[in-house]
């Protein structure tokens, strides 16, 4: 036997090849890992640490551990009698963030589902073009799109100017710097994020099932409720998460359309690093936001994997 002369490596050739492959794959991924650790993930750890420190007088931190920043997210201490209250100002900002994000998700779903369905049911040759029409706004600068909305709704904007010219109103209606403006803007900028995953789900949908549904005496509504909706639900979850997550952390849109008044969490965090000069509070708020987003993503991953298991 010629093979007997050679000594097998420990664990055999297969194990050696696997070890080599593992080595190669990690080596190839290393530059990306280093870049992301420096430029994205690593600094998150610093934020976590900062959230347990005392604020410095003019920004920065004092290296003394405390839970103060986490406590201050929800409670405030009266300077005079030292009684503890719920931090109403903070809570109203959280409430606004959650409320506007949920509403944004609902509105984008209401408009996005028929749109995605419409695109998915176009003839194959047209679909790419319709999809491209959705993708252009998706890749267009968020600031520019927010800006476009602002120009439409502000007091000197196109709606007010023309309404006055046509004699419909005497005074411009204040639309900018309201919650409604923020909601409109967010629904506008995040709509493509809802349409794209919904389209992907509906596109995979087997339309023969609709024939089977009608054949078995279902009405249009029943076909929609009992067959279409349940089968594209992974796409609905995906779209909702994709809209809800950035809405919750929105910064540009509420800043431009809500002004300083209708703040959301993102603006509130920024405030702590700017005028507020309370870096630990900003850090703890960031971590809180991160936790909420992580929970949402977990829900998403579980829905997807359950769906995969079914298939």
């Amino acid at each position: 036997m010629a093979g007997k002369a050679q000594v097998d490596p420990p664990g055999g050739y297969e194990a050696a090849a696997n070890a080599q492959r593992l080595h190669r794959n990690w080596l190839l991924s290393l530059p990306a890992i280093v870049l992301l650790l420096i430029g994205a993930s690593g600094p998150l750890l610093i934020v976590l640490v900062y959230s347990f420190l005392h604020p410095g007088d003019y920004g920065g931190v004092i290296w003394k551990p405390t839970l103060d920043a986490w406590f201050k997210i929800f409670f405030s201490v009266d300077i005079f009698d030292e009684t503890v209250h719920l931090a109403d100002a903070h809570l109203s900002i959280f409430w606004r963030s959650v409320k506007l994000s949920l509403l944004t998700t609902l509105i984008t779903f209401g408009f996005g589902f028929p749109t995605a369905y419409f695109i998915a049911t176009r003839p194959k040759s047209q679909r790419a073009a319709w999809l491209f029409l959705i993708t252009i706004p998706f890749w267009t600068n968020l600031l520019i799109r927010t800006f476009a909305i602002m120009e439409v709704i502000r007091n000197e904007g196109i709606i007010n100017t023309w309404a006055i010219r046509l004699g419909l109103i005497d005074q411009p209606i204040q639309m900018l710097y309201t919650e409604g403006a923020v909601l409109l803007g967010m629904a506008y900028v995040y709509l493509p994020l809802m349409v794209l995953p919904l389209y992907a789900a509906i596109d995979r949908f087997d339309f023969h099932l609709l024939e089977a549904g009608y054949d078995l005496y279902a009405s249009r509504w029943q076909v929609f409720r009992r067959i279409v909706l349940p089968l594209v639900s992974p796409g609905i979850v995906a779209g909702s998460i994709l809209v809800f997550v950035p809405s919750l952390g929105a910064y540009v849109t509420p800043r431009v359309l809500g002004g300083g008044k209708k703040m959301m969490i993102g603006n509130f965090i920024e405030l702590q690093f700017g005028q507020g000069q309370n870096w630990p509070l900003g850090a703890s708020l960031s971590m809180l936001l991160l936790i909420v987003v992580a929970v949402a993503l977990l829900v998403y991953v579980r829905t997807i994997s359950r769906d995969r298991a079914d298939a």
Partner: protein, 283 residues
């Protein structure tokens, strides 16, 4: 059985088929959606050509706001800075993303692959404001420690969040590639490096170009991270525009927006041509 001939009036007309896919009202909402998506952008573009100061009243066609924007030193510098950062970030992220894609695609599961996936896709998951805050803190301490205050911070930050955008098209292309091609090359005496150079890389090129294109667009559009990481006097076009919001709005901002929009559109079209070529070739 009624003996109905084929040409009775009731049946002679051509009936519409029962449409299985149709849902009442969906088409109307969809069309409304497209109108709503485009109307504000188109308005913005139109008023960039307005001769007057207003962004609501049309006072004649003019390209004067483009001249004004072009001659504005701050705009010139911001534009140049945007392009430098976008080009650098796009180049860096596509190189590291290509390597990572080769390391994580078509190799089967290996220890730590999920961790690498998570890390690469992290910028897509973590709210940008959180990353921006983290980078602000991190880079501030490095600035103090090293005294360096150049564009490097912005380039690193942009390159990092561009990685997933560069990674995904490259990975998609790799997954669609026939694995036996490299085996065939090896069978024909190519070393692994030669097989990569002569077979994998040329086939991967459209994917890499598409990824680089997306990364460029994403970097060019970034507001939040740039706003937090930049030092004084390091405005990019988007942060410059954000700063302008506090002042009276003139069509100059529309002109800058339109120019950015046009650039994005060109890059996107190139991206779609590249990915389209991929689809048709794999058919």
């Amino acid at each position: 059985m009624p003996e109905t001939g084929p040409h009775t009036p009731a049946t002679a007309r051509r009936r519409a088929d029962f449409s299985v896919q149709k849902m009442p009202g969906f088409a109307a909402i969809a069309i409304a959606c497209f109108v709503i998506l485009y109307a504000p952008i188109i308005t913005l573009v139109i008023y960039s050509f307005n001769a007057g100061q207003s962004v609501a009243l049309w006072q004649g066609f003019s390209v004067k706001w483009y001249y004004i924007a072009l001659e504005n030193r701050a705009v010139q510098e911001a534009a140049l800075r945007s392009l430098i950062i976008a080009a650098s970030a796009s180049a860096i992220s596509s190189v590291v993303a290509t390597m990572a894609a080769i390391g994580t695609t078509r190799t089967g599961a290996f220890k730590g692959r999920t961790a690498i996936y998570l890390l690469i896709n992290q910028p897509l998951m973590v709210p940008e404001i959180v990353t921006a805050v983290a980078l602000l803190i991190f880079f501030a301490s490095i600035k103090v420690a090293t005294g360096y205050g150049g564009l490097g911070y912005l380039i690193v930050a942009h390159a990092a969040f561009c990685v997933p955008f560069a990674y995904l098209p490259i990975r998609a292309r790799l997954e669609g590639m026939d694995a036996t091609l490299e085996l065939a090359a090896a069978d024909l005496y190519a070393t692994p490096w030669l097989a990569f150079r002569r077979i994998t890389l040329p086939l991967l090129a459209p994917g890499i170009a598409a990824g680089a294109m997306l990364a460029f667009v994403i970097s060019l559009d970034d507001v939040i991270i740039t706003e937090f990481v930049k030092s004084a006097g390091q405005d990019t076009l988007p942060t410059y525009m954000l700063g302008q919001l506090r002042r009276a709005i003139t069509p100059e901002v529309n002109a800058i927006s339109t120019a950015l929009l046009a650039l994005t559109l060109v890059l996107l079209s190139v991206f779609f041509v590249l990915t389209r070529a991929r689809e048709s070739r794999s058919d």
